[in-house]
């Protein structure tokens, strides 16, 4: 690795930053889910970077498990989105207030 690991971690932090802004600002559930995928990927990049820096496979295993859990999360989240927003005029998470006290 010719580039120092700090650069990779800084890139991962910037991607995490963009993803957090997306989750907080956007009201479209699909784009919020995609921002969550960005967060997963930023974390994975940091894991793989440290795995390479220490020449230890554990980070790879962890990133692999994160990918699997992300797939399950995307499937369930998209199912909920598809069921919930089929009857709504707009796709906006603020309109889902049926459980509000």
């Amino acid at each position: 690795m010719m580039v120092a690991p700090e650069n990779y971690v800084a890139l991962s932090a910037v991607l995490f930053f963009v993803g957090v802004v997306g989750v907080i600002v956007r009201r479209n559930p699909l784009i919020m889910l995609m921002s969550i995928e960005l967060l997963f990927n930023a974390a994975n990049l940091a894991l793989v970077t440290y795995a390479r820096a220490w020449a230890n496979n554990a980070g790879h295993i962890f990133a692999f498990l994160v990918i699997t859990v992300a797939a399950a999360e995307a499937a369930i989240g998209l199912a909920i989105v598809a069921v919930t927003f089929r009857r709504m005029p707009h796709v906006d998470v603020d309109d889902v207030a049926a459980l509000k006290g």
Partner: protein, 208 residues
């Protein structure tokens, strides 16, 4: 060296595009570029198997799932996403402050202790050398078998949950759509006969 900076620029630009895109379809395209660039970064970090998994699982499965759901939700009469988000203007400063705090925390922690990169001995691709697929597989199946099996359980629970939530009858959420009325079901021969006899104006009851 140059490849890293190009890929970093591409990744940041596509991430910003993903978050700020007006329609979810554009977000999917931005995310696709992001994932492919990340796979290349994995290759530069000697994570060969993860690079392939990134392409196959993320770009091949998860993004296609997003595209399917977007197509499903936008198949109605109304356009899918009208105008910008309502709360975008109000929450943007708070969100940026919060996220900047996160960014500062991560960068400060990560950069305070610089990490020396361990050199890799041996030819790349050897089963015992770090980064090869065989090495990844042996680590996964010899030392981390239980987490791997738990992963299988998680996927099974996810599949059952998806079928329960979005299955044919809608599961605990009740039927998804009202039953189609049976008035459309009149046999076409009978209807044509009635139209010929003048009981029914032509075009009545026809499917649009």
């Amino acid at each position: 060296m140059i490849a890293f900076w190009i890929l970093a620029l591409v990744m940041i630009a596509s991430a910003v595009f993903t978050v700020s895109a007006q329609k979810p379809v554009y977000s999917v395209v931005g995310l696709l570029v992001n994932f492919v660039a990340l796979a290349m970064l994995y290759l530069s970090l000697q994570a060969e198997f993860l690079a392939v998994m990134q392409i196959v699982v993320y770009s091949g499965a998860i993004l296609i799932l997003f595209v399917f759901v977007i197509a499903l939700l936008s198949s109605g009469v109304r356009p899918f996403d009208i105008g910008p988000d309502k709360m975008a203007k109000a929450t943007l400063p708070i969100a940026v402050i919060l996220a900047l705090a996160t960014l500062g925390g991560i960068v400060a922690t990560a950069l305070r202790t610089p990490v020396a990169v361990k050199p890799i001995e041996g030819a790349p691709g050897d089963p015992d050398v770090f980064g090869s697929v065989a090495n990844f597989g042996s680590t996964l199946f010899y030392q981390n078998l239980l987490p791997f099996e738990v992963t299988a359980f998680i996927l099974m629970v996810a599949v059952i949950g998806v079928v329960l939530i979005a299955g044919d009858e809608g599961g605990p959420l009740g039927p998804r759509r009202p039953k189609r009325r049976s008035i459309e079901r009149e046999p076409i021969v009978k209807r044509t006969l009635r139209q010929a006899q003048g009981d029914l104006p032509v075009g009545h009851g026809d499917r649009r």
